[in-house]
Amino acid sequence: MKPAPFEYIRAESVLQAQEWLAADPEARVIAGGQTLMPMLAMRLVRPTRVIDIAGIAGLDEIAVTAELVTFGAMVRQVTVERSAAVAQALPLLAKAIRYVGHPPTRRRGTIGGSVANADPAAEIALVAVTLGAEVLTTADGFSARDFFLAPMTTALPAGAMVTGLRFPRVTAARRGTGFAEVAMRQGDYAMAAAACELVLGAGGEVASLRIGIGGATPVPVLLDLAEPTREAIAAALAPLEMMHDPNAGAGYRRRAALALAMQALDEAQREVMA
């Protein structure tokens, strides 16, 4: 038994979880446990209480409307992976989810846990920032861009919890998406990743181009792009702070981010032409 002692309790409603969190700053939510359990085992965290939110009714639902796709915080990553509705409404997320860990970790890991955890390499966070998603919490809603502040650090106020993630839905017929990443092994955290969504207008002109970078930077970044060219992407990457570690230096990550962005763009362009 590796974790320090704590009390395990099951919340029956968001309100109850919120009350327990507000009452005890040392309490923590457990969603899928795929990050919290290792942190507990290594005693990187020593919570007093661990609040299980898996039994809260309605928190594991996906709602697709004409304009929005909303995920409850407890939606398992595998549910996203297997959902035909998500594949159709949010193809970029459907592509990215397959890079999140391994099938057994996706069986347990959740959308909300990934967002709350804010790993710089988290693919779900990257897609959220790229597509302009909104993080729903028991306090305010936050645009994903404003929610991720630094590695493992979010704007979530103390005592609040993440309740969901909401994406705007693009219904244009001519849309292509691409996702690419580089990691030490399949399923490992990305050293760099890129996500792209390209939408063409009726006349074939670029109606919207979004390219996001994750893994390389401390938080996912939506690139500010005037045009879909290598030069424009390189220029947008130039001012960004890159992370570095013994496996991947800042220079490597910047070059990888550029190459992966080109791959993702290429995939999106091929898809939109097909």
Binding site: M1, K2, P3, A4, P5, F6, E7, Y8, I30, G33, Q34, M37, P38, L40, A41, M42, V50, D52, A54, V78, G101, H102, P103, P104, T105, R107, R108, R185, Q186, G187
Partner: protein, 159 residues
């Protein structure tokens, strides 16, 4: 805390500390040592069990989180005492193990894969076991074992 875990089809009443992982509950509480403890923080996959038929890591769950679900360990996959299931038998036949440390996790991961996808491609097998480390075999014979099991399961009428 007191809890009831459904393991290999029978309910087991356990008295455990809240912080007990499902892995420790199975090994030390229920006394089934077939579920191996490797890294105990989610990296190696040797602790894999089936939760409601799907592969999960028992070191990455609290025992309490498994309450109300059906847990299957390697001890629960054989047709009878002294017998091997088709998947286990295929591992023996292709020599899909050396030290055997990773084997329970590999077998259960394979069972979960073959239930969803009875005829996986080589790439699909490789992806399915991508979260399970083996320090001995180089994986080649494990992939072969799973392919052989798929073939045999398709031809058999017992699981």
């Amino acid at each position: 805390m007191k809890l009831v875990l459904n393991v290999n089809g029978s309910d087991r009443m356990l008295e455990l500390e809240d912080r007990t992982s499902l892995l420790d509950a199975l090994r030390d509480g229920v006394g089934l040592k077939g579920t191996h403890a490797g890294c105990e923080h989610g990296v190696c996959g040797t602790c894999t069990v089936l939760l409601d038929g799907e592969a999960v890591r028992s070191c990455l769950m609290l025992a309490a989180q498994a309450e109300g679900h059906a847990v299957t360990t390697i001890e629960g996959v054989t047709p009878g005492p002294g017998e091997l299931s088709i998947v286990q038998d295929s591992f023996v036949e292709t020599h899909g193990m050396q030290c055997g440390y990773c084997t329970p996790g590999m077998v259960l991961t394979a069972i979960a894969l073959l239930r969803d996808n009875p005829a996986p491609t080589r790439d699909e097998i490789v992806e399915a076991i991508s979260g399970n480390l083996c320090r001995c075999t180089g994986y080649g014979q494990i992939v072969e074992a799973i392919a052989l099991a798929a073939e045999r399961l398709q031809r058999s009428n017992t699981p």
